[in-house]
């Protein structure tokens, strides 16, 4: 199918032209995801302050919890990087171990996020309560949904990795999941900064 040749050296995921193309395609998809999230950020920014009768963000945001969530996700991004590093060293066991740690951290993040949403709802800030809270829940919720999707996807991959070991295809799939996971951290950094920190300052 390809006009370009396949390689015999280098990381497994880059060996075949088809796999390199899939990885490039995923990078382009991440570009589209940036456009998607920036639309949500734009909506959030425009709706900022439009809280109607609901509580304002400064009343509800709590720095310690947000910091914990941030560190969970940051660490999971790091362990995911280590997992890919182990994969490139050819260690399936190392890959699976670090991937499991990554997913556990991701689950921890999700747990905190759910707790946070429930907490806000108790304080009177829900999806329908105002334009601001609609945009807050949809922005952070979309990110949370992405995390959930990433966890499910990576779990499917664990099954495949155990069944088939490290092949060109499984390595490529793992690498792509890795890209996705790091990307979720990139988005979270901006949520942390422009939603929580700015929400606490302004």
């Amino acid at each position: 199918m390809s006009a370009e040749s396949d390689l015999t050296t280098g990381p497994l995921e880059y060996r075949s032209h088809e796999d390199r193309m899939t990885i490039l395609g995923f990078w382009i998809f991440l570009g589209a995801e940036i456009a998607l999230f920036s639309t949500l950020f734009a909506t959030y920014a425009v709706m900022f302050g439009r809280t109607a009768k609901a509580p304002s963000p400064a009343e509800l945001f709590e720095l310690p919890m947000v910091l914990i969530m941030t560190f969970l996700l940051l660490t999971s991004s790091f362990t995911c990087g280590i997992a890919i590093h182990e994969m490139r060293r050819g260690s399936l066991k190392g890959l699976l171990t670090w991937l499991a740690v990554t997913l556990l951290l991701g689950l921890g993040f999700l747990g905190f996020e759910i707790y946070e949403f429930v907490h806000y709802a108790h304080e009177g800030a829900t999806l329908p309560s105002s334009a601001f809270w609609s945009s807050f829940f949809v922005l952070t919720g979309t990110h949370g949904l992405h995390v959930l999707l990433g966890i499910s996807w990576a779990s499917l991959l664990i099954v495949q990795l155990r069944r088939r070991g490290l092949t060109q295809v499984t390595s490529r799939k793992m690498f792509v999941v890795g890209l996705y996971w790091h990307f979720l951290d990139v988005i979270w950094i901006f949520i942390f900064t422009s939603v929580y920190l700015i929400g606490m300052v302004v």
Partner: protein
């Protein structure tokens, strides 16, 4: 193909420590520094962009393979589009600070005036 078959993941650890420091610094700038608000916002946004760069270059291997150039260009274009979408929306939806100076009201007041005018 940097990082391949290298035993110790130096890049990852440096990146991780860097992002931890930047996160704490941003949190401190927001709640503890006492700087004027515009300065806080500018500085924490810069730190966020640096952290995104850490993820992209040190964790995600963005520059690898012969498609590295395309991947970097694609991300730059994405950030360019993101800037247009966010800044453009805020600017457009701020509803005309260039006129109606006299009422001296907040942005929200002006907004309501305009809605009245449209109706």
């Amino acid at each position: 193909m940097s990082g391949h078959s290298e035993g110790f993941p130096k890049k990852h650890i440096v990146g991780f420590l860097g992002s931890m420091v930047l996160t704490i610094a941003a949190a401190w700038a927001a709640v503890g520094s006492g700087l004027p608000t515009p300065w806080i916002i500018a500085s924490i946004m810069v730190m966020a962009v640096i952290q995104a760069g850490i993820q992209l270059f040190m964790f995600m291997h963005m520059t690898e393979t012969e498609s590295g150039g395309i991947q970097v260009g694609n991300m730059l274009h994405a950030f360019f589009i993101a800037a247009i979408i966010i800044a453009g929306s805020i600017w457009t939806m701020s509803f005309g600070y260039a006129h109606n100076h006299d009422d001296g009201g907040s942005g929200e007041m002006e907004m309501e005036n305009h809605q009245d005018m449209e109706e």
